[in-house]
Structure formats: C-alpha cells, structure tokens
Amino acid sequence: MAFLKIEHLEKSFGSTRVVKDFDLEIQKGEFISLLGPSGCGKTTVLRMVAGFETPSSGAIVIDDKDVVALRPNQRNIGMVFQAYALFPNLTVGENVAFGLKIKGVGKDEREARVKEMLTMIGLPDLGNRYPFQLSGGQQQRVALARALAIQPHVLLLDEPLSALDAKIRVSLRTQIREIQRELQITTIFVTHDQEEALSISDRIVVMNGGVAEQVGAPFEIYNRPATRFVAQFVGTLNLIEADVIAPESGTVRIGTTEISLGRPLKPGRVTLACRPEAVSLGLAEGRPLVLHAEIGEVHFLGAVIRVQARAGRTQLSLDTFNRPDTPPPAAGDKVQVSISPADLLVLEA
C-alpha cells in the first residue's frame, strides 16, 4: 500500500495545462526524484503536494488521507526551498525550533530537538549564528534541519542544491540521502540535474510537458529509456540513422555495414541510440558492429576520456577509461569503433 498517492492530478494556469493526468505512488521511506527540464511541471506537482497550489483536479493522498482540501500548515510536511528561506531575524537555533514552537512543544523538548537536529546536520556549534553569517551550504543544511525538526510525514526538496557550488552540491546530496535513509522519511526531490537524480534516488520520475514520461529506478531510466525524450534528456546519447533491410530478423544497414539486432523491426528508416560507454575504441569481444571512424575532439576528464568520432555521417561520443600507460587517440586518427547490438535502443519517432 502506497504511503503517498497522487491520482489523476491536473493543474492549469488560465488556458495552459501545466500538469496533465499525473499519477504516482510512493512507498513509505522511498526517495523519489522528479526530473525534467524547466517548465515541465515538476515544481508545480511538488507545490501541489505542499499545498501552495490547488490542483485543478485529482487527488493527493498521504497515509490514507486526501490532503487536497487541507492548507499547507495542516499537512505536516517538511520542505526545503531552493533559496534556503531561512528566517533572517532568527538565529540558526530559533529557525530550527520555529515549527516546534508553533506546535506548542515545550522549551526543554524544543532545545533538545534543536540540538539533535544541529548535530545531525553537522553544525552543532552554530545555533547562535544568524543566517547571513552562514555559507550557502550551511544555510541549506539548517533549512533541512528545520524541515525535519517537526518530524513530518513527507519531506519535499525543491531544487535544494541548485544555488550551491559543485563540490558542496555533491557532499550535501550525499548527506541528504544519508539522513533520509536514517530517518526513513518519504521524500520527493525536484531537480533538473540528471546526475543528482541518478545518484541519490530510489526511483526517478522523468517529466516532460506536464506528463510523467517514465517512472523507474535510475538503472532502468538510464539503460532502458521508455521514450525518445527520456533517452535524450537523461545522459548523453549517440544517435545512429539506419535502414531496416530485413524487418523480421531486425537487420539494419548503417552506411555500408549490416548487422542484425535480433528483434523484429518496422520496415523503413530507424534511429538507433546508444550511450558513450557502450561504444568501444577498437575491436572488442561481444561487440560485432564495427564502424570506421575518424577522431575529432578529445576531452580529458580525469578518470574518463570522452572522445568524439565521426563514422560517415554519424557523430559518436565514446567514453574510455584513462590509462596512464596508454595515450589517448589524437584528432584525425583513423580508428575502428565497436558496439554490441544489445546496447542499441530503437527510438520511436
């Protein structure tokens, strides 16, 4: 039985439908990410769960209770905002205690809880500081502590890392996930950053145009995208145009090379897709599709080297591990690249 159920949720602003027939079931303690480009409706869904937006239709059920008619202050939800939203007139300790004070929790219990929360986020000595005296990362951790202090049913995270620099983002997202696992709190995380979503989620909802295009575990979303949009939005994708020459056996021709994909295809022209890590430089066992290519740009990324190669009219990206004893290819080198047919996705139009 799902702990949080969103059923046939719709939201329109004027004549514009920004969320269309959105359904989602979230288990207790699950970490779900809403991932999509700007304007896809992910924040609107989150704000409807919080109660800041009223759905045009549909239901939001938390712990068997439809909360659509409830005001935000009646839902017992914790939320962390993109811009921290700490109260500037209150100290860190007072910010964390705010929700408890509103609930009428006694002073001793409040202080103990604040101490516990500040210790949990690793800022036990900053209770007397004001928000303007903290860095962005510290402010966001305090915002997390404030949201969790009231022991909410659900935690909503509205792009909480997007205002932070890259290094802090990585460490804070790890900390958020650890705390979420420890408290087993049901969490919805909104982001447009695929790497964030892939790295910390139990499941990801990829949204586009107000619709959930695919719901699945990060591995599934990345490796088995259900739609062309998901395939293109999540990760880097190589697109290879091919002609189907034997639909029953799934044999296609790419340039002058023919290969069987081992599954039936519609006749005509198809677009095949594969990830950069599915393309090998040189011949490789189990990768019978071999294309002749010329090396273009080579990007040294540290542990990984991303190589651009052109095979006929097809532009390919391929990732190869850095080996200190083997120099990377140089621009203009003529090489062979190999791909396994099993790694090729057939994209629908």
Binding site: A85, F87, F98, I102, A143
Partner: protein, 307 residues
C-alpha cells in the same frame, strides 16, 4: 603523442614599451567630479554653510562673542511649548503615517491586487509626498475648510455639520490631517521596497512549518520589517518636524510650532532675536539629526538582514 607536443611553447617576443605618461591625479580629478559639482556647490551654499552659520550663531552674541545665553533661552516656556507641540505633531503624524502607509503598501505589494493598482499608487505617492506648502494648505482649506467642498457635501448631503462636531482645520487635528497627506505617501514610497524584500519563501516556509498568516506576520515579517519601520518613523518624524510652509499657510501664527516661532524670531517685527532663532534652529538640527541618524542605523541593519 610526441615530445614536441609536450614541450612548452616558446615565449613570444615581447615588445618593451616605455610607460605611457599617466594623467596626474590632480588633472583627472576635475573631470571625474564635474558631474556632481552642481550638487556639491548647492549643498555647500544651501546646507553646509547655513548650518555652520546657524550653529556658530547659536553660540554667539550679536557682537560676535561666545555665549551660552541663546541656548539657555530654549528653556523658557515660550520655546519649550512649541518644541513639545512640534514633537507631538511629528510623533502623531509619523505614527499614523507609518500605520496607514504600511497597510496600503502591504495591500498593493502582498495583497494579490492587479499590478496597475500598485503602479498607480506609487505614482500618486511620488507626487503627493512632495505636495506641501501653500498649495497643500489651500487644497485642504478648499476641501475641509468652513466652506470647503467636503464640508459642504457632508452638511448638504449627509447632514453632518463638521463645525458642530468641534472640528477645526486650523487646529492641532487639522494640521495633523494635512501633514498626513504627504506623510502617508512618503511611508508608502519608503516601505514598499522593504515589503518587496519579504521573500515569498519565508511565508511558505512558515506556513508549511505550521504557522498561520498572523503567526507569520508576528514572528517573521514584522520583526524583519521592524528596523525599516522604525527607521521610516524617524524619517517621517524629521519630515514633519521641519515642515514650515504648510503650517504657516494653514494656521498663520495661531498654532505655535517650532518652525513658526523660529520664523518669528528671524523675520518677526516684535519678537525679532536672530540669535535666539539660531539657537532654536540648532535645537531643530539636533532633533532632526538624531532622527535621521536613527533612520540610517536601522536601515543599515534591515538591509543586512534581507541582503
């Protein structure tokens, strides 16, 4: 990869040039400051020099000798009473200006009203906050005077005789009402940016943590605005305390507020004592100076919070 690619590129020959002669600071200064020169000149002639003249005059006899007698003259009832009356009017008009100005500004910034209402109110406030002196006094006499338009309408249409209620425009209450005409718009102009600085996320964060609207205003919004409110109160106080033309045009000399007795001491035929006038002006400078200092300090604090 070849050795050649690993080698550091040879440095390009650098052409050594003689340093260009830089214009001296003294030569650059006039051009840089030319734009603000009129303001500087104006401030020097009409603010700094008169202030110095007043402060020195407050401590001098007509013959130019140092004295504290002028300041002692401030302690007589004929001067203390106007000071108290001025402070009373200033506190009242600043307080009411803050209250009504805040309500109106909050309504147009946070009340979900159409944007054009905000634009219209801010435009009107910009005009009204500078509408003072003889035109304002005349406008109030023409509307709320004994034969004013509103007075007549109230009497003819609604049967309310303002005079019979004891209302007199040329009185403390009348002057207070007249001052509010520019005090409220001034408050709106100053407090609107502070209200805009209240982030939507603060309200939403408070709400999702369980707070009602009134709890949010009591525990977050008003404390955040408090330095701005106090600072604006100080500014409105100073604005009212120094107003002379409106009071003069409206009440003549029947209401003894500080600017009017000051005017009498400097220009009057009977009471003329310019050096007592300097002392009174010095007292006004001190009071408005304190009010403005409070405004600046509190404003700085508010800006630090909401930066």
């Amino acid at each position: 990869m070849t050795d050649a690619t690993l080698a550091a590129p040879a440095p390009e020959p650098v052409e050594v040039q003689a340093p260009r002669p830089r214009p001296s600071r003294a030569a650059a200064l006039p051009l840089k400051w030319l734009g603000v020169a009129p303001f500087m000149l104006f401030a020097l002639l009409f603010l700094i020099m008169p202030t110095i003249h007043i402060v020195l005059g407050a401590f001098q006899t007509p013959e130019g000798a140092f004295t504290l007698r002028n300041l002692q003259g401030l302690a007589v009832p004929q001067v203390v009473r106007p000071f108290m009356l001025s402070i009373k009017i200033s506190v009242l008009t600043a307080g009411l200006g803050c209250l009504f100005g805040l309500i109106l500004a909050a309504a147009v910034t946070k009340g979900g009203l159409p944007g054009w209402i905000r634009d219209a109110m801010l435009t009107f406030s910009g005009v009204a906050s500078n509408f003072a002196g003889v035109p304002l006094a005349f406008a109030f006499i023409a509307t709320l005077g004994r034969l004013g338009l509103v007075t007549v309408i109230l009497k003819e249409v609604f049967g309310i005789n303002l005079a019979a209620t004891g209302f007199n425009l040329i009185s403390f209450l009348g002057l207070t009402l007249t001052y509010l005409y520019f005090q409220i718009p001034l408050m709106i102009l100053i407090i609107t940016p502070a209200l805009d600085g209240l982030k939507r996320e603060w309200r939403e964060a408070a709400e999702i943590l369980g707070a009602s609207g009134s709890q949010y205003w009591r525990m977050v919004a008003l404390p955040v605005l408090w330095p701005s409110l106090l600072g604006t109160f100080a500014l409105l106080f100073a604005n009212s305390f120094g107003a002379v033309a409106t009071a003069m045009a409206l009440t003549g000399s029947s209401l003894s507020i500080v600017p009017i007795i000051l005017f009498a001491q400097i220009r009057g035929d009977v009471l003329q004592d310019p050096h007592l006038g300097y002392a009174i002006a010095f007292g006004m400078i001190v009071i408005t100076g304190i009010a403005n200092l409070v405004y600046i300090v509190l404003r700085t604090r508010a800006e630090k919070w909401i930066k």
